[in-house]
Symmetry: C2
Subunit: 158 residues, 2 copies
């Protein structure tokens, strides 16, 4: 069974986001061993300077790189966009190649440091739009579930 | 105050989606008069034929076109993708041109009929990925809220 590790920064603040993630996590559990890792979010001042942000991202990067395993996919707006079918094929291929684990990383509200992006095997963008990283977590889990449904020929994806 | 009308098909089934939409609707209410219209979803068989789907979409199209007002933006995967800043500028321009109302339409899980798409002033895609239309509603409301925050120079959008 493929291991899917989702590395995130910060805890989900809203109950509705926690419920949404729990629902998709449960569904993914039928196809893969899913592990969600919530790393500590750095505390920043109200109007942080660029250097304050970079310092926080670097600290988060250390924790992210320690947490990732296997094939690392970084979520970032400049990453490659894929259709749900292409995304599904990508995950299937990782499983077929026998990598065992695919790690996804979603950064904090300031994104990811270049250190994480350059370590990633693939950069993936879900949209040209900017979404809150907490909502992005729901969106990504839904896509991972959809990917398994597409691969399995289920009726979920039309 | 700009009127924003969101036309959707089907009721939100999950409490977490209702809560998420309610939260963003409340936030949008500070900037615009928001109205969410939930049209009836056609009932289809388990494995509907193309003609059954087309019939359902045509029926939904009639109701959608009766419900829309002002500048109509249809959400569809083949629409134009925009960044959050471009999306914000688009909504601001509609307000400046004095159209008074902008209507967004999100179809059912089978999408929208060509009749609706050809009536729309703009076609907008949030992603190359396929999302459930119910989750798309949350995503769109978040972007509308973000659009107002960008236009107002708020700190929400980084």
């Amino acid at each position: 069974m493929l291991k899917v590790r989702l590395i995130t920064v910060g805890k989900l603040k809203e109950q509705y986001l926690r419920d949404a993630c729990a629902e998709y996590a449960k569904r993914i559990g039928r196809f893969a061993s899913l592990q969600i890792i919530e790393l500590d979010e750095s505390r920043l001042s109200d109007k942080p300077s660029r250097s304050e942000i970079d310092k926080a991202l670097a600290k988060e990067a250390d924790a992210i790189l320690r947490a990732c395993e296997g094939y690392l996919i970084a979520l970032c707006i400049e990453g490659k966009q894929r259709t749900s079918e292409e995304f599904s094929a990508m995950i299937e291929e990782i499983g077929v190649r026998g990598q065992g684990t695919v790690s996804f990383v979603i950064g904090s509200s300031y994104g990811l440091s270049d250190q994480v992006k350059s370590r990633a095997a693939a950069k993936f963008s879900m949209s040209k739009l900017t979404f809150p990283h907490q909502l992005a977590r729901v969106m990504l889990l839904e896509q991972i579930y959809r990917a398994f449904m597409i691969a399995g020929g289920g009726q979920y994806h039309k």
